[in-house]
């Protein structure tokens, strides 16, 4: 087997892991499986595309490639703006839809269903605005460089891995070392009790949406940069995201990232061993195996 699958798997896994952290956070704190999370990835990618395109109109120096990378300064700048915009989008959807349903205190499954409707609306809206034609941040081609061990990677891929690693460490530190992280864990344990103990539950929920959306946006931009931008980008990643969140154990940030890498590596291995056309089934196999053998996941607590 060609060892290059390790590199491909790591990169796919990093994107899945970043998305899965958002899924696992909303799942553990808001207590429902958010089918619209994939759309946050797609929206993040398209928002960055739109902003970076607008920046490119102002100044062509911004689109000139930086060093070895395929993109100019317009993309990192657009990424920062897109992260904020995606966060605001998630907050808006929560305010209009999930927040109202939560306030009513109905069954969990109503929230799941609402997220299903929201995902359809958000995805088709992207298709309406940007059409279903694939888009790219840059048309520049990149040559993969040897990085030892018989592996090759493009500078863009290495940068993406680095960004993903930094984001995960930042989130992990936030969850374990800061006040808001402690509040988040308290709310995920028992939201009513946390509220009585003086935790601002609504603020925690806002932070969860923003952090989840920000990570989704980063993952979406990575996917857009390394593969391509399509309205179905998030929808196609949704099953891997769920598989990784459940494999890692609902609520565990390191678990989601590690499980994301496992899913990504398994997909890449399956492409080599079985064939690329079966790639999408890998997450389903993993999902079924976890539900059969260890429904609480690798790092999750028993329900």
């Amino acid at each position: 087997m060609n060892p290059q699958f390790l590199m491909d798997g790591l990169i796919a896994g990093a994107m899945i892991g970043l998305g899965a952290i958002g899924v696992t956070l909303t799942y553990s704190i808001l207590r429902f499986a958010n089918f619209a999370h994939g759309e946050l990835l797609a929206w993040g990618a398209y928002l960055a595309l739109a902003v970076s395109g607008a920046l490119g109109l102002f100044s062509t120096t911004l689109t000139r490639p930086i060093g070895l990378f395929s993109f100019g300064w317009s993309l990192p700048l657009a990424a920062i703006i897109a992260i904020v915009l995606t966060g605001l989008l998630a907050l808006a959807v929560d305010g209009m839809l999930f927040g109202r349903l939560r306030a009513r205190g109905g069954a969990v499954i109503i929230l799941v269903m609402a997220s299903f409707g929201a995902s359809l609306a958000l995805r088709s809206l992207l298709e309406f605005i940007f059409t279903s034609k694939p888009a790219y941040y840059t048309k520049a081609l990149q040559i993969a460089v040897q990085i030892g061990g018989g592996l090759r990677a493009t500078p863009d891929q290495l940068l993406s891995l680095g960004v993903a690693l930094a984001a995960v460490i930042a989130i992990h530190l936030m969850m374990t070392r800061t006040d808001i992280g402690r509040s988040m864990r308290a709310v995920s344990e028992n939201s009513a009790l946390a509220g009585i103990a003086g935790v601002d539950v609504r603020k925690v929920i806002r932070v969860v949406w923003f952090v989840g959306a920000a990570l989704a946006c980063i993952a979406g931009i990575m996917t857009g940069l390394l593969v391509q931008i399509r309205p179905y980008l998030g929808h196609d990643l949704l099953l891997p995201l769920f598989a990784a969140a459940i494999l890692g154990g609902i609520g565990s940030v390191p678990g989601a990232m590690i499980a994301g890498l496992i899913v990504g590596l398994s997909e890449a291995a399956a492409v080599q061993l079985v064939g690329a056309e079966w790639r999408a089934a890998v997450s389903f196999v993993i999902l079924v195996a976890v539900l059969l053998l260890r429904p609480r996941g690798l790092f999750g607590r028993a329900a």
């Binding site: 069954a107 299903f116 809206l125 298709e127 309406f128 999902l287 329900a303």
Partner: protein, 323 residues
Amino acid sequence: MSLDLIAYAAFFLTMALTYAIMCLGLNVQWGQTGLFNVGIAAFVAIGAYVSALLTTPDAADRVGGFDLPIAVGWIGGALVAGLAAWLVGALTIRLRSDYLAIATFGVAVTVQLCVLNLQPLTGGAFGIGFIPRPFGDLAGDPLAFGLSNLALMTAVVLALYLALQHLAKSPWGRVLRAIREDETAAQALGKRPIRFRLQAFTIGGAIMGLAGAAQGQFIGFIAPDNYLPILTFQVWAMLIVGGSGNNRGAILGAVLVWGLWALSAAAVSAFVLPEQQARAAALQIVMIGVGLCLILLVRPRGILGASNALASLTRKRTPKSKE
């Protein structure tokens, strides 16, 4: 000219009734049991492909073609789809309620993939053609062909409706209702919620398989494109418009939504420029997604138990927040 119109109306109604069957299946799962299935397309596809495999004449380029009677195809499609539903349910119903939703989503993705890639079995992207159609020997006369198919499908829907009404009133249906209203109380009375839920999910899946089989046989051609996630969404819209929990509503909703869908699609292709048609279709889906969310917001409890006396009683009390 008017005969053509009648033949077209018969075709339209027959298609709508195949959707009504899916809708009835979903009503058993969601309306009566509260199980959220986002993989309807998968169960419909399983039914359609199994039925096509059983009834087509022997084909050189793929496995099977067993040339069996159409009725065998229908029953086979329903049984295999029911088996698939049972497997998914057995795996997830004892876990958290949304794991079932995630698993059915996975089934939809995987079935779509299998249908595309298992070329020797399913014909791959080109699908399976020349599926024998009921009353195929009447095909020379569109009117007689259309009307006899419409009569057949009406009979199927009517039989299914009566059976499901009977089932809902039976002790089994009462237990389902009891579990949905108050799981703990039902458990205290010695009923096992997991078992009843699994049974309901299996029956619903089998009905969707039957719908797929009937639809495939009626059109005479199936391809993976017929079973995309949008199908799942259409059936959901039908059930919610018709009023979930209500079998008559399920049938009515199917005819209404299918009619609206067909009309708006015709309007889009007639009035929108060809290069803008994909965008108009996307906007159509946006509106349905928003519509679903609006119904959830505006009629919160009405969705779970509109036709239920007990539900309207509990609504007056403060809603308890359940995990």
